[in-house]
């Protein structure tokens, strides 16, 4: 079930009312959330409910084993990691590696021998396996206690607001919320509702409208350099609107249920360096990669060269997490290299000799958007074709129109984010009622006006 669907418009209010009617009956509330979450996930394809249940049960059992037989902790963790990574490999990566190996063998004249599985990628598999896997690692490390209550654990893994596209929550933050009575406040509800409206605005207006421009620009036969440049900007806006919109709706819906999800985005396009960008973009993934990959690889504890290698490897694997394709590897490598360069720059120059803010912002944004080009250009012919098009910087009326459209899309979002930077995240939510009503009415009008371009799916569902 997508947040942008009639089914969800019926589903969520029903769940919300039933949930609150259950009052203080915690177990019943959790049971309702579990049933609702499985219905939410099964709406796409009920067959994959088994996989979700299987993943959850194995991780639950592994953690219980760690708690009850500390001597077998290593084995239990190995089982959990093998299962999670195995599931991910089978469903997401097998065809990619098999296909790449076949292509490599063919280059050397050998007969390709790996049969492709052509399995359907279960929605959100990367999100819930990472969340579930992080739990067993945390239990192994002693950061959280193994959960005894199976329904509670199943609900934690399958919690519908964040099940298919995050944020990838940590057990130490979320599990206690399933164990204690949830209370809501008027402020919390108001803020949750604002997040939902804002999330839909980001998704429908910023994400889906700019997505149409990106789709028009990203073509193998592209010949206009400005279309490549503006199309890449459009894609940067699309992915931000789409994903941060989803995260806002997720956080908002969870807030109405009395849960607090982490912030997944914190105005990333205001970043002044690439490191800051990764502290503001898809925060739940970047912190996951830091805690469960970068630091175990050695982090920055083994010298500068090793640190840079660790950064690079982490980002390449982070790229691969996004999708089983070489362009995601390239995107990850690009960011790995950028983070390495930034680390050298950071160490070499004292603070007072850093770049002026506008220049730092411009360079960071340029670097990030070059990355988005690799992310969106899904094939090598598209990458080379569109790169070659940069040689033709003919300006057409279409480019003027696109520039205006992008400015119109950016302006309201930039204004809200600027206000948030000055007056806090809830500046609109906590505004006087007339201001908020006018603001929401305007947002709703624009959403309806562009409704014919809405895509039910979110980009990150495929990851």
């Amino acid at each position: 079930m997508s947040f942008v669907s009639l089914a969800f418009a019926v589903f969520f209010p029903v769940v919300l009312v039933l949930y609150h009617l259950l009052g203080a009956r915690l177990r019943a509330q959790n049971a309702l959330l579990l049933a609702a979450s499985y219905l939410f996930y099964g709406w796409w394809d009920w067959r994959f409910l088994g996989l979700l249940l299987f993943t959850s049960l194995v991780d639950y059992a592994a953690a219980r084993l760690m708690a009850e037989r500390p001597a077998r902790r290593g084995v239990a963790l190995a089982v959990s990691l093998s299962m999670n990574l195995g599931v991910l490999f089978a469903f997401k990566y097998f065809d990619f590696f098999a296909d790449s190996l076949n292509a490599l063998l063919a280059q050397f004249g050998a007969t390709p021998s790996f049969t492709l599985l052509h399995v359907i990628l279960p929605v959100g598999i990367s999100f819930y396996t990472f969340q579930s896997m992080a739990y067993t690692i945390d239990v192994y490390r002693g950061v959280v206690a193994a959960e005894r209550d199976l329904p509670r654990f199943l609900t934690y893994v399958a919690f519908f607001p964040q099940l298919v596209a995050g944020p990838i929550e940590r057990a130490r933050h979320m599990l206690p919320q399933f164990a204690r009575p949830r209370h809501v406040t008027l402020d919390g509800l108001r803020r949750g509702l604002w997040l939902i409206v804002w999330g839909y605005y980001l998704k429908i207006v910023l994400g889906d409208v700019s997505g149409a421009y990106a789709d028009a620009a990203f073509r193998v036969d592209q010949t206009f350099g400005w279309s490549v440049i503006l199309g890449t900007v459009a894609f940067g806006l699309q992915i931000y609107g789409d994903f941060s919109g989803y995260s806002a709706i997720a956080k908002g819906t969870a807030a109405l249920l009395g849960f607090e999800l982490m912030w997944n985005f914190d105005r990333p396009y205001w970043s002044l360096d690439v490191r800051e960008f990764w502290q503001r973009w898809h925060i739940s993934l970047s912190t996951w990669l830091r805690d469960y990959l970068y630091i175990p690889l050695g982090g920055n504890r083994r010298g500068r060269l090793r640190t840079m290698l660790n950064l690079f490897l982490t980002m390449v694997l982070g790229g691969l997490w996004h999708g089983a394709a070489w362009n995601f590897v390239l995107w990850g490598a690009w960011h790995g290299a950028l983070l390495g360069v930034h680390r050298v720059y950071d160490a070499a120059l004292p603070a007072q000799r850093r770049l002026p803010v506008p220049l730092a912002w411009a360079l960071t944004t340029l670097a990030v958007f070059i990355g988005w080009f690799f992310f969106r250009a899904r094939s090598w012919p598209m990458i080379t074709g569109m790169t070659a098009a940069l040689g033709n910087l003919t300006w057409t009326p279409g480019h003027g129109a696109l520039l205006v459209a992008l400015a119109v899309l950016i302006a309201p979002v930039a204004l809200v984010e600027w206000l948030q930077a000055r007056r806090g995240a809830w500046v609109v939510a906590d505004a006087p009622v007339p201001v908020r009503v006018l603001w929401e009415a305007a947002a709703l009008l624009v959403m309806v006006a562009v409704m014919d371009r809405v895509r039910a799916e979110f980009i990150y569902f495929q990851f």
Partner: protein, 336 residues
């Protein structure tokens, strides 16, 4: 970003639902305000419903409006399908033929002969008496299938009809709010060059009723493929309407321009198809073969084409040079 402290008392159960209804009130009020404003707006200033095929209808609508606005004393008027819309360069012709005025009323193949006739009739009805009418058609004109529904719609008022349901009318009204800036991109390179329908419409008017195909050239793999040729009975069935429009304006003023095709195609049946098409159109439209424009190329190399029927910038320049020379010769033989 950390949330500011929430000062109000925490609630559970029915009290939470009561708090929820209080919290949701401003959003419902916003929804009501938005709906009421839109409803009132569409009542006071209703707008027509855009059909799905926006690009096609924008071109037809634009040309219908131009047919009633362009100068009656225009020297050369071009009617026909997209070959006439795309392949002719009015500024180049004007510069090459003593500053003559050239206006385009060509639309698309789906308009068919009946649609081309309608343009000519509209122009004539307001006193238009051009020195020359160029009927510009793609080489495979007889293959085209005019859309009955499209022609019917063209025959109606160019104004768009109102949507039947109030909610649709409200949506249509709102779409005009964002359409000028948040345009829907046209397909492929058309989006790169024109953006959306509104900028394309603006250019159609500012460029005297002509557009150009922004595609550079056809992919090489397309060249050797000869399009299948089946004559379309619907096209021929509409020729009498066009013949009547031509008769009204004076067949001696009308010249048939059958656009060049790729040289690669000429090895197949294209040469015979071309001869057959010209003969059939001249006889059915009452055009005198002796007045045919001479010296125009029947074929051009594949790299002069943006699509199977549209010339790219290079092909357009080359073809219009020949066309200017042909018009000059025509003027010498049959003085205007």
């Amino acid at each position: 970003m950390s949330p500011a402290a929430a000062p109000l008392r925490a609630q559970q159960g029915p009290a939470a639902l009561a708090a929820l209804s209080r919290a949701v009130a401003p959003t419902l009020l916003a929804l009501g305000l938005a709906a009421a404003t839109t409803w009132l707006w569409q009542r006071l200033a209703p707008v027509g419903h855009q059909p799905a095929e926006q690009l096609e209808y924008a071109i037809v609508r634009g040309q219908l409006e131009r047919a009633e606005r362009i100068a009656a004393a225009t020297d050369v008027v071009v009617i026909g399908d997209s070959a006439g819309l795309i392949n002719i360069d009015p500024a180049g012709l004007s510069a090459a033929v003593d500053g003559i005025s050239v206006e385009g009323l060509a639309t698309l193949a789906f308009a068919g002969p009946q649609g081309h006739a309608l343009m000519l009739d509209r122009f004539r009805a307001r006193g238009g008496a051009p020195r020359r009418v160029l009927l510009a058609l793609r080489a495979l004109a007889l293959r085209g299938g005019p859309s009955e529904a499209a022609v019917e719609r063209m025959l109606q008022s160019p104004e768009l009809p109102l949507a039947a349901a109030t909610l649709d009318r409200m949506r249509d009204r709102l779409q005009t709010l964002v359409a000028p800036s948040l345009y829907l991109p046209l397909p492929g390179a058309w989006s790169d060059y024109y953006g959306g329908v509104a900028p394309l419409d603006h250019m159609l008017r500012s460029r005297h009723g002509f557009l150009h195909d922004p595609n550079k050239s056809l992919p090489r793999r397309v060249f050797p493929r000869l399009p299948p040729y089946d004559r379309n009975a619907a096209f021929e069935a509409q020729l009498p309407q066009l013949a009547a429009a031509i008769a009204a304006i004076g067949p001696e003023r009308v010249r048939l321009l059958l656009m060049p095709e790729m040289i690669a195609f000429r090895a197949g049946h294209m040469e015979a198809v071309r001869a057959e098409t010209i003969a059939l159109l001249e006889s059915r439209l009452g055009l005198d073969p002796a007045r045919r424009l001479s010296g125009l190329p029947d074929g051009l190399p594949g790299d002069r084409f943006a699509s199977i029927t549209h010339l790219n910038a290079l092909g357009r320049a080359e073809y219009n040079q020949s066309l200017a020379a042909a018009l000059r010769r025509d003027r010498e033989r049959f003085p205007w």
